[in-house]
Symmetry: none
Subunit: 195 residues, 4 copies
């Protein structure tokens, strides 16, 4: 529903119709629309967490886990096209700061779990240590996000899976520990700290 019509399709009437109810009946299950969206965010977070848990069980190699996670992430988005539309929608990403912080927390938590894999990899010596796990986790998210957007606006025409894997190839190569790139890798950019 959200994947079709966007968050504007997430009105009580549409939701109710979808679940075979009448709008007012939704108030049996949620306090109000905000409650509905909160529940939705929780569901989404649980899906993300489930992916992390799953890949943990699939392998002990944290770098491989990340690759598997990326693939699962892509699949999650492909199969639930509504997810990014919810997370980045006005309703949640938008004005009301309380909800914005809710999304902030969700992202931080997910990224925290992703960062954990990087940390483990660094401790195992397979990933360079001049980048913090947090920074790496944000980059990880960047491997798929623009691709997901393109996939959406192209009505599925863009090959998000392939793009994500290409990006992972570049990224994983780049962060792998190697004796030759250690020294100058930290030179992220010609300075200009401005924030």
């Amino acid at each position: 529903m959200v994947s079709d019509k966007g968050m504007k399709g997430l009105n009580l009437g549409a939701v109710a119709r979808r679940v075979g109810l009448v709008p007012s009946a939704l108030y049996r299950h949620f306090q109000n629309k905000d409650g509905m969206i909160d529940a939705l965010l929780e569901l989404i977070e649980s899906r993300l967490v489930a992916n992390v848990v799953a890949v943990r069980q699939e392998t002990d190699d944290p770098l491989l886990a990340l690759e598997l996670l990326l693939r699962r992430h892509v699949r999650l988005i492909r199969e639930n096209a509504g997810i990014p539309r919810i997370v980045f929608s006005e309703e949640v990403y938008g004005a009301k700061s309380q909800r914005k912080y809710r999304v902030h927390d969700l992202l931080r938590r997910y990224l925290g779990r992703v960062a954990e894999f990087f940390r483990e990899s660094q401790q195992a010596g397979t990933v360079r240590t001049d980048l913090s796990p947090d920074e790496l986790s944000v980059m990880f998210l960047g491997l798929v996000q623009p691709a997901a957007i393109l996939w959406h606006v192209s009505d599925g025409g863009f090959d998000v899976t392939r793009q994500a894997e290409k990006a992972w190839g570049v990224f994983s190569e780049a962060i792998k520990n190697g004796e030759d790139k250690g020294p100058e890798a930290g030179r992220a950019s010609p300075a200009t700290r401005e924030n």
Copy 2:
């Protein structure tokens, strides 16, 4: 306006008030709200294009140009926090397919210009050629996008500038042509089965 209140703040009343008019008067300038948003998208595209043009004038080195472009992109978003909220809002990214394709075109055009730099770099031999310019351009967008989201949901607390530069550091290193990593870099991922 959009940066404060989200796209819901982009109602004709608010816009009209902003420009010292009355809502109905806007219909002298735009056919309807869709027309307004189209104009907005055009404005945004012009800003993006302006950045491309600017960095073209600032340097002849396409890789350096990309770095400068990234920095400009970050600045553009930081100074016009409303831009991502418009581009990825429901109103444009959302339901009406016509508008979605409009955004698709905008992104493709921008990415096309970005890809141009990569193509030039590849022709100049400074960037590996096992990745297509198009793929590279999408990755390029991924260097900043998740950071921008975090910056927004953290109310400016996240250091998007620093993150983007770090990401560029990793990325630019990874794509630079080097004799040792050329051959196997194309090995994007250990498995390529679509899931």
Copy 3:
């Protein structure tokens, strides 16, 4: 409940919560909301009648009984601030004529009992007879009613007790039988044309 939130607080949900039930369970005890309000009105009437009965037992002097009744009336309102809000609420005083007549009857009955005291006083010769007991009973009600309203809108700041006693002082003096004011007292107003 009603005293806090007004008749809008008198919704089935609130009532049910108050008595530890669920809204639908109330339908085991009342046919519908109207039935509830009817029961409420009956309860209120019983309170009013109880006051009349009580003062009857407290004294044989009908004029003193009225003074005591007035004091009880004030106390009843002060301790059950919801009563006037129910009696004069829209739900009962309002639209549905059936309910309006129900309130009409309640008031007539109460005023009838008040009038009885006046009739007895007149028969005992202590109250002038140029005013009918019915008229006197309505005046009696007027001794407290505006004060009660002021008490409510001033959040208890207005001294309804004192005002009622002052008014009773004036009123009781005025209606007491005296040789000098008997004859011309009936001259209600200098002109009787209806406007």
Copy 4:
């Protein structure tokens, strides 16, 4: 409208229909429903004040002015049966304290003007001075208020005009300055200050 259906009839739909508009069109003229009621209260206050001003012009005798005012008050209520239903409705008299204070002020202002007549009469020596003008003004209101309620619940069957004039007869006699009732008149009631 309010006189027919009570404050529940004062919904935007009904009001709009009454003035030949559509509900949303009312928002051109009032900020919201609260604004509507505020405007209504102002209108009512202006009517009450107009009565005061009118009787001031009709006579210089403050006691006669009060009698005329009472008659005008009755007429106002008879011709605008909705007035008491608005002033004493839940919507205004009810929960929201801000509005309650608004009504409080309205009543205080009106009663203040009424008290002025009593004060003048006392200064002219025609009204006993052991009762404060404020107290007298509240009693004055009591001359008509219960009658008005009976008139309403009896669907106009009760003769509010006659009752008010009778009550005025009793009241005006009682408060007039006389040498015989001066001393004991202050004995409002056998004590019991309790508030």
